[in-house]
Amino acid sequence: MTATAIPPAPTRTGPAPTPRRPSRTRALVGPALALLASVATMLLVWQLAVVLGDRVPSLADTIDRLSAEQASGDLWGNVAVSMNRFVLGLVVALVVGTALGVLMGLSRFAENALTDLTMAGLAAPAVIWALLTTMWFGFGWLTPVVTVFLAALPFVMVNIAKAVRAVPSDLLLVARAFGVSRTEVLRHVVAPAVAGSTVAAVRFAIMSAWNGLLLAEWFGSTSGVGWRSRYWYDANQLDGFLAWVLVFIAFLVLVDQVVLGPVERRLTRWRSV
Amino acid sequence: MASIDISGLVKDYHDRAGNRTRVLDGIDLSITGETFVSIVGPSGSGKTTLLNIVSGIESHTAGNVSLRAGDRDARVGYVFQDPRLLPWRTVDQNLSFVQHDRDGWAERAQHYLDLVGLGHLGDRFPAQLSGGQQQRVGIARAFSVEPDILLMDEPFSHLDAMTSRTLREHLERIWLESRRTVMFVTHDVTEAVQLSDRIVVLAPGGHVHETIEVDLPRPRRASDPAVAVLQAEVLARFEVLEARAAAARAEVPA
């Protein structure tokens, strides 16, 4: 339901198609300057919120708290615990979701049978999975892992099915007519066609799964990043909570800009040429 | 009476490194009255640039361009290479969009749509029309503003041979019925011979190579022997020019 039928964003990374002629230096300095100004503005807005809203902790306090968490070992300890759960749930969702998605892409029967259920899965908020698994499995490792799995699964299914449908049947016929080998077809026809939606599948799955993980650990766990942020919230120490929010955001930026972004740009280079 | 007067027209382009390329080098041209003038020339001779400068879409480096109708500025209609219709507006709304004069536009629009054979498709969106039909709408749009001067930039070059022949016949019929001063850019010599009263040949480097008067009775048919003879003759002259242009290009390293 959310953002599934959409191609990967060319807007965030790709250059705007304005036909003006920037010099080479301006083309490099411009975005860097903009990013700098942007970060400065965000810090300024934060500072304003600190001054105006009396409950918002300052940046200095938050950083202090974060380094205290690091010094006490709580930072990396909880991150490691959460990463185990996250990766386990995500990998299972990717495997199961890919199998079901390929089925949906290839067979009309499977597509008809599974589309409505997938839609319902996309529409269900992750918090409901977090609450239900907490009731079902208690405060064990199953609660976050199952939530991660359920939150990611429909996104994988929908986007993999889309990827399979994107394989151009006419080009496959061309390849067959010219007697191109199977591996060559896989490499030059199938792979480029499915790349975009596959990256989208992974991206949406990660974002949704991360959200689910935090909620599951918040409601039904005694360890992990979600639990640790709740610990500070319950202690009414908002600087501690905010320190963990910085960790959440850092994780997402890392995944998006450092891992998925370059992969996506590489795979979809042919589109912008 | 409408007229286009061009004198000493110069156009330079500057690339990123600041190098100057001259695309039009002192064009003198005068078109007066209900004359259909074609501008032909090999690619790179500045045909489209000339038309864009006349229409005001592009600026020029030196010289004068004036478009007059009697003692006032001339009103201009433009037919582009591609249809350039607003995709989210119906055919009727597309014609309405360009009107200066709201009075009686609906009748005018209907009249010219009828002339191009699309009178019954006014409530269609462009996407629901074929390429040829879209281009006919473009022609009706240009005539519907009752222009003193009509500028056309290779309007049939994107269409298949059959469609463009039909559209040429449409165009000549409308023009005979509602005569304007026309400046028609094309790379197709046979098209120019069939439609024009005068053909201006531009040479690479951007100057007028020669001017050919076409004095044949209208309406003309491509199969008419007199038309065919003149087409062959002009084509032969044009081929010499193109060969010279190709040789010149080969001499100058890119």
């Binding site: 903009a34 918002v56 008809n112 529409a123 609450l131 949406f204 | 350039r84």
Partner: protein, 269 residues
């Protein structure tokens, strides 16, 4: 929450290349029946309060609907989202227009919009509660923050999609800037914004509901939270079912509206 992308109005290219088999509705409703049966069997096997069967949940759905509680709480949630979307439009339109016209501003806004669009819902919920308390303001502000990136990025895409050739056509026919905005820019942007709203809506509602889970006086999320605290799993599932059904219906309605409003688009014509 979910990753943020420009929702380019999709170019319909889904030509069916498989032969038709059993009718669609039969297969899909058959699959739903199978799923519900599986749920019923599982709940019978577990035989515990925490796993109510489908009949029990259906009973609760009917009760909630008949008593008017469903209407009240859904209305309350949707009013908050609409208010939030109103705010998001006010902020997103100028930001998106600026991004579409200037490369610098596009880079400038991309980072904050990415953060706004991708911050986990938990963060919004907690800050909504801490800063605005349990009133309606928290959910409204939260849904506005979630929706702004969707609106802004799609407005920017719409502005960028405006064809330079059409602008030159307007110039050749001597159209005024006001005409150009009204007949060229606005129609181009509306299609993109509509798609953005369609996708942003689901996102915003989920986060809004989450905010209500954390603290509210009414709304769907609040009802789910209350059922959770009272250990009424059947109630929780009943509210969730209603939520999912409402979401799917709204999504379908918006999609239908979209194809009516944008009949000029080639893929829909």
């Amino acid at each position: 929450m979910s990753t943020l992308v420009a929702a380019r109005p999709s170019v319909g290219r889904s030509k069916s290349r498989r032969p038709a088999s059993a009718p669609r509705w039969l297969v899909s409703s058959g699959a739903l029946v199978v799923a519900v049966l599986a749920w019923g069997i599982a709940s019978a096997v577990v035989d515990d309060n925490i796993a109510p069967g489908p009949l029990e949940v259906l009973e609760r759905v009917v009760d909630i609907t008949v008593s008017g509680a469903a209407l009240d709480n859904f209305a309350s949630s949707i009013v908050k989202i609409l208010a939030g979307f109103g705010l998001a439009m006010l902020a997103g339109l100028p930001i998106g227009f600026a991004m579409g016209r200037s490369r610098f501003l596009s880079s400038y806004f991309s980072m904050p919009l990415f953060v706004l669009g991708n911050v986990p819902g938990l963060t919004y919920a907690v800050f909504g509660l801490v800063i605005f308390g349990v009133g309606a303001t928290g959910p409204i502000v939260v849904s506005a923050l979630v929706a702004v990136p969707f609106v802004a990025i799609n407005v920017a895409e719409g502005v960028r999609s405006v064809d330079g050739k059409l602008l030159r056509m307007c110039q050749a026919f001597g159209r005024s800037p006001a005409d150009v905005v009204r007949h060229v820019y606005l129609p181009a942007i509306t299609a993109f914004v509509f798609v953005g709203v369609r996708y942003g809506f689901a996102m915003a509602w989920k986060v809004e509901a989450l905010t209500e889970v954390f603290g509210a006086r009414d709304g769907v999320g609040f009802m789910i939270r209350r059922a959770y605290q009272e250990f009424q799993v059947a109630d929780m599932l009943a509210w969730t079912t209603l939520f999912v059904v409402a979401m799917v219906l709204i999504e379908r309605g918006l999609a239908a509206l979209e194809s009516r409003l944008f009949a000029w688009r080639k893929d829909l014509a």
